[in-house]
């Protein structure tokens, strides 16, 4: 799985961090930072949840 984010769209809600704290963080302005661009399978469900709840549809996943 590859995690792709569109930082220009990010509204700094932090909902992704709440869903998958090992994979996402926020910078000082609250904008999304991807900690694990290719997360391990153990994180897949959390990452899918993060992509689904992002209120600005910022997170795109490439899944094989």
């Amino acid at each position: 799985m590859k995690v792709i984010v569109d930082k220009d769209r990010c509204i700094a809600s932090g909902q992704c961090v709440l869903a998958a704290a090992e994979v996402f963080d926020q910078d000082d302005d609250g904008i999304v930072e991807v900690l694990l661009e290719n997360p391990a399978a153990a994180h897949y469900e959390d990452v899918r949840q993060a992509a689904a709840i992002c209120p600005a549809a910022v997170i795109r996943l490439e899944e094989p």
């Binding site: 700094a12 809600s13 932090g14 961090v17 609250g30 209120p55 600005a56 549809a57």
Partner: protein, 397 residues
């Protein structure tokens, strides 16, 4: 899969699309139909009063999914067509094109529509902002540089006023309450919003409602306020809240006291769930029925409702979240702000345009706010989740 062969989703916006996505993610491989009253493919509404209205974004950027992602959903989209009636017993929807659609499971996600003023909306130059078409039409009108009166200083009115000032227009913001966004943010933070708008040159007319709209030759020319004064206007944006789009359900037998009344699992009847702006439910932790008109809830509740349809439901107990962008202020709120809520500044200073705060009610923390401090505001959310005792929440030293 619980005898579910066909799921119909009435409403093809954020909540409906989230429900459809969740159904597929949870393994539903039957027929899926999304019915949307608007012609457009599913799009996102929050940017309408921000980047779309300002002209910063073109309409393509608000689409919620790429064509490929929509294709992968393997759903039938019936757009430009509204659901007009529901027979819960027979599990049949009637659509505005006269056709009848049977279903095994139904997601109601028809959202809300703007509330109108009691009179005057037939005048040219009086508009509302809910759909992409509304936003594009309003943006076009703003280009002509009209004197704008925004009626209603809630979310939408405050954001639209900020955009219009950013475009250099003459803007008056009218509200019968004493403070803008007081229902969303409480009086103290609402006062910070008021100062923000005044600093940017918006004329605030608070504590006064609209008595009537003035017109000449079929065009609006001004707004008569209940305090007896008149404000000249070439353009009036009516942003006085919204009403759940449930007219089509009045003969369905569903309970409609506040939108579609659901149980804690987002279930409205056998085989029927509801999600998003249109749905109310008893929030397990708050202990009362709420209906939330915010973007994040549309997604979360869409997912929760989908799981209920599939027999995997859980009581829906989210921490509500919303944000608002006005000028350079980014306002984020996690949790709730009850009318009697107390406010405590935790970090920063409202006078500096950067602060975090907690809201408390009934002895517990209920909400966390970040004003240009989104991450720090989010970190305070734990007080809301844990219901930290108000006496000590966010008190340092």
């Amino acid at each position: 899969m619980t005898g579910l062969r066909h799921v119909a989703v009435a409403g093809a916006s954020a909540a409906g699309l989230a429900a459809a996505d969740a159904l597929r993610r949870e393994g539903f491989d039957g027929r899926l139909t999304l019915i949307g009253a608007e012609d457009a493919l599913p799009y996102d509404r929050p940017p309408l009063s921000k980047q779309i209205l300002s002209g910063q974004w073109e309409p393509e950027r608000v689409l919620l999914r790429s064509p490929e992602a929509l294709e992968a959903l393997q759903a039938d989209f019936v757009l430009g067509t509204a659901a007009t009636a529901l027979d819960v017993g027979a599990r049949k929807l009637t659509l505005s094109d006269g056709s009848v659609l049977g279903y095994d499971g139904l997601v109601i996600a028809t959202g809300v529509r703007p509330r109108a003023l009691p009179a005057g909306d037939e005048l040219a130059g009086v508009c509302v902002l809910r759909t992409l078409d509304d936003a594009l039409a309003l943006r076009e009108r703003l280009r002509a540089g009209p004197a704008l009166v925004v009626v209603g200083a809630g979310f939408l009115g405050a954001e639209a006023a900020a955009v219009a000032r950013g475009l250099g227009l003459d803007v008056t913001l009218v509200d019968p309450l004493a403070t803008p966004m007081v229902r969303q943010l409480g009086p103290r933070v609402g006062a910070v919003v008021a100062r923000l708008h005044e600093d940017h040159g918006v004329r605030l007319r608070l504590n006064t409602g609209v008595a009537s709209l003035r017109g000449s030759g079929g065009r609006v020319t001004g707004v008569l306020l209940t305090d007896g004064s008149t404000v000249d206007a070439d353009l009036v944006l009516v942003a006085v809240g919204s009403v759940p789009a449930t007219e089509w359900l009045v003969t369905s037998g569903l309970a409609l006291t506040d939108g579609v009344d659901c149980d804690a699992y987002c279930r409205a009847a056998d085989g029927v769930v509801a999600a998003g702006d249109v749905a109310s439910w008893p929030h397990p932790r708050l202990g009362r029925r709420i209906r939330v008109e915010h973007r994040t809830n549309a997604g979360e509740q869409g997912m929760a409702a989908a799981k209920t349809l599939l027999g995997k439901g859980e009581p829906f107990a989210p921490v509500p979240y919303f944000w608002s962008d006005q000028y350079d202020a980014k306002i984020h709120v996690h949790g709730t702000v009850p009318p009697d809520a107390d406010l405590r500044i935790v970090d920063g200073d409202p006078g500096d345009g950067r602060f975090t705060a907690l809201y408390g009610s009934g002895g517990r923390s209920t909400g966390a706010l970040g004003w240009n401090m989104p991450k720090q505001g989010r970190l305070l959310r734990r007080h809301v989740v844990e219901g930290t005792a108000w006496a000590t929440a966010g008190v340092t030293g």
